[in-house]
Symmetry: none
Subunit: 306 residues, 5 copies
């Protein structure tokens, strides 16, 4: 059951305790992609982050917390990630059926808008243990003036989670005064976010699919000087993965805004070809009717498994 | 194996506990320069500080954390310094093979730009113990409006590290509203930074190679009045070393921006002639191909050993 | 050995614990002035406060931390005061030979310029114990917009130091938006600073020698109305000493900027005649060649002892 | 420098943090046996355990704490183990020159005689860090009525030491009402002690050389039924090593009471042939004159290296 | 003022912080024996330990706490040691005049008689700081069944005192079921007590003058085998001092029961000739009339100074 590829991935985390390594193994060995070293995770924090109607009105059954546990199971995801309330609501009913990732911090669009974003810590490592989770999740906004506070908060949460045998999944979204709005998904910015995440000690890194734009002039020059190609998604993903310790950290990519199926699958193919470890796909999944969502997720997994 | 010179250096730290003294000894007695009282340290925090593409694209194997441990070993460095993630990624594989310095605070160019720089504390003294490190590292920006916060944060970290037998290596980079941009490497500014570092209790002080410019009018007058020469690198290094308690603290110099080999070796010669304790050389090492980097580092060591 | 005068001075501090009283006694009973109730203290924080070249280039042996311990011993000072690094560097070598005062906060001229000065806390009461000190030192800038922060920080440090048997020596330098630059040493301002220091609970108060100028119009009127003379140094020192609880707190005066010997001794005579408890003399001592400095300090002590 | 054999040994400790693994590596890579996977450790706790005259009168220079640091260095030992006082007395002088093991608990023959022996905890993990040690040491007496207290005390010390990156060396001496006096070194008893030690989480296990006697009737039967040979020292050591997780823990053997050189070397050969990891040899070393001791230790190492 | 002998003694404590070293220096550099490396300490805990009438009725002024401070001063002792109450009663009046040692644990003859003696901890390290003490004192009874509790309590107190810059003076009185009553002062027992004290980390060790009897059969054999002479006091003291790390710890001897002057001086001469560091003399001092006591103490000091 333990494949050579998963063994290889776990070897990158030598020095971590068996609890942390075991939870990484549990996520890698669950679902349709079990053993392939690839992961597709269902994240549902949009109710908190964007509000319920924007998130769930397109597919009303998704207002129900149980819906997402079931969707993750039906589609064979490796894990399901959500804020405290969503996990608490279904964690007993689905206990032991799928690895859970508790997102410890969250932001809403009602408060603290603007240039120096920082999320609120809305759950604890102890909550993650209580709910039987396999990992904690945290979001940083490199580029925000509150960067230092986030990095320092994260440092303590990683430490506490590790002592409890839990790895950390880090959502890295460059945003704030330090990053031009139009370049938040710039290939250099995504690569930099992946590097920072790895340096901060994240076990699984989640960034947005990189675009062929640049956020930092000096970085652009470095790409050009070294002839690093950035034309295709595969090219750019390759850079991001390389930026995560030469690929020695698990890097997964968000699906981003809802879009058409063909476009999604095309993007996934690029991620796969660039060496990405997988996807974390929320709105594109749960805003579709259940069966369509399951089909999409299975098609995505098929690409990763190929 | 313990030379008179190393004994003499350790005597400057009388009153420190045997753990702190022992870790200083370990660094001084490792690698090609073991026993000479000189040190060459490989630091690799540029992935965090400047971003991955600017740092590693010139020599892509350097994206891999293992690369730097191996480079430090191959070239006979006294120690290897890096942020949390880079050390975690290789610390078991290279356990016990080379002294490690965990850089506890780090900054990136995505966030908190501007005139009052301060780095985020991204790792802890407990991390340093867990990873088997021989010292902690910390960066101060004298000249920043956040100076007091940094000095006070440092005070607590030095205290905690000492109780655990770990010495502190201090990166002192004058920067911010208090220092004219063009004089950040001014000979008076570098000397002042070395003095502040020593007064704050640093065990090893790292400054930039001083230039023949001045940042403070009153300091310039003092140089002139006392006829302190500043024309050559050796002259200027001599002042900086003197400013670090008449040379009774270990002072090492950064290599700064990547440049040509001849220029580097010329600079090293000046540092050596001025009485500097050694170099901490990052970009000039890891951005070269492996064998060139090893050769350069060995040539640098040859100068210090001469 | 315990003289009536010292007994009288200690009686002002009745209610303090024996540790605090004992350390005051230790300082009063050390050196040439032992038992006279007068004190001459060597302070060397200028390396931190003004930078090394301005401080030590006039007398290069003073770059060496050992130099100042030895100078204080050779000249028979009551105590030696310095920041953390300088004390750490010599505290074992000179252990038990002279009372030490650890300056807990310090400022440099590289950062945080401007109108609202506040020093960084660069050492702790625990450091003072570890280094075997007899007192802590702290600097306040009455007149600064950061005044409250300093007073409150000081309050906690005095409390902690007292619990450990350590008295507090307070440097009181009116400075900031609340005090006209030219009146920082005004007789009313110095007296006010002495009063604030005493009210804050300082055991030993250090102010600058008062000048015959005024910083506050209303204070000036009060001097005139009550016919308080301010023409001579003795007159003005008398007011400052009176402002420190009718002389029931030890008040010592800084030497200020380097100047000629005759001028210094004239000033000391004024302080002595006005009832000052002594001097804390840094630059005028350590910037002279060793033997001249010893002679000057001994001449100063002779005046106080007369 | 890192040999395949040492790599293999360290692989048994996967899941431990890099600090623990690094300190094991440091001990395995020090001295004459560096890299062989074998260890010879000098332990000097007999002054505490048996009293000074019995321990040091045979070779009076051994009263001096420095003597043992030097002996360990001169003979090329992998590490030196002693109680707090002996390490404190020389830890600065020999800082960084040889791995130190701080014995955290000790017993003397003046008190608490009798059937339920238990040692006093005379030093802490924090002491080990302060003194720059590479491991802690602890003694258990399986067979004592105080067994539970010891096991539980040990549990907490191993946990605290691990968090600080320190491995634990366990002295396992079956003794007390549960073990017949004459069978304290019985092959079954020694094997059982090794197993308990490994189960308690010890990283390095120290037992006495097993004799061809049995302490438990049922164990004797099991040996006979399975035809486990116990005639030679090699046979018996093989059983003890196997009992320590099929040899996946480092097991070293004490020298026991002082005896003749030939007898010692014969015993070492048996340990080596049985697969033991090495020796921890105190009285047989430090009670001989210095040069004889060095020669003996080197001869012992020669056997292990062969 | 700092003599070579005192420097040498302080060098034995390298690795201790400057506060600890400074307080040792303070005791060694106080009183008549200042600078000689010898110490005479006045201890007055007999009021607590034996009751007031037995202690003070022979010389009723000694009921007054002030009496003992004054006696220590008048006779030129290096320090005065007493329980909490006695020190509190005079510590302000005599503040800063003589080094004080606060005895942290004490026993009375009203309670816990019997075979397993252990003293109560009646004061704290914080009390020692509050009272301005230069050291803490603690009593162990090796040989008691409560040995482990005492050693462990002591371990924590030494640690806490060290962090506050205070050394530890250890009273080591073998007593209890493990030591034959008649051999409590046996030469082997006293040597063993000195060794245990040093191994436990005591800075100054106080034992009783050894007698030419033996408490342990095996120890007696070791003396005989090694031809260690024990006939004269000097012989026996030499063994005890050697047992304290070859003389690298300060060892002082109690005066024991009250006795005649000639007998006392004879004993002191033996201690001096055997290399003892001095005496701690209570009853033989304070139970004599003041002037006789001063004379006796001065005569004792004369012997040590000769």
């Amino acid at each position: 059951m333990m494949t050579d590829r998963v063994r290889q991935i776990l070897s990158w985390y030598a020095g971590e305790n068996p609890g942390v390594v075991g939870n990484l193994a549990r996520m890698l060995n669950t679902g349709t992609l079990a053993g392939t070293g690839k992961m597709v995770i269902l994240p549902v924090d949009q109710g908190f982050e964007h509000g319920p109607v924007r998130s769930f009105a397109p597919n009303p059954p998704a207002y129900d917390p149980d819906y997402h546990f079931q969707l993750a199971l039906d589609s064979g995801c490796n894990a399901y990630a959500a804020p405290l309330g969503f996990l608490e609501a279904g964690a007993v009913k689905f206990a032991g059926q799928i690895p859970l990732i508790l997102k410890l911090n969250n932001s809403d669009t009602l408060g603290r808008h603007g240039l120096q974003p920082i999320s609120a810590v809305t759950a604890s490592v102890k909550d993650a243990l209580r709910l039987g989770c396999s990992a904690i999740g945290y979001t940083i906004y490199p580029g925000s003036g509150e960067r230092n506070e986030m990095y320092q908060e994260l440092r303590e949460l990683i430490r506490e989670a590790r002592e409890c045998g839990l790895p950390t999944v880090l959502w890295a979204y460059p945003r704030g005064t330090g990053v031009p709005k139009e370049a938040e998904q710039g290939v250099d910015i995504c690569g930099y976010a992946a590097q920072i995440s790895a340096q901060l000690g994240a076990h699984v890194i989640k960034v947005k699919p990189p675009k062929d734009v640049f956020g930092q002039e000096e970085a652009k020059k470095a790409f050009e000087k070294a002839n690093v190609p950035t034309k295709t998604m595969a090219d750019r993903v390759k850079h991001v993965v390389q930026s995560a310790f030469a690929g020695k950290r698990i890097v997964i990519f968000s699906g981003g805004e809802a879009k058409g199926t063909a476009e999604i699958l095309e993007e996934i193919k690029g991620i796969k070809d660039g060496g990405g470890s997988g996807s974390i796909m929320g709105r594109n999944a749960f805003q579709r009717p259940h069966d369509e969502a399951v089909k999409l997720l299975k098609d995505v997994m098929k690409i990763y498994a190929s």
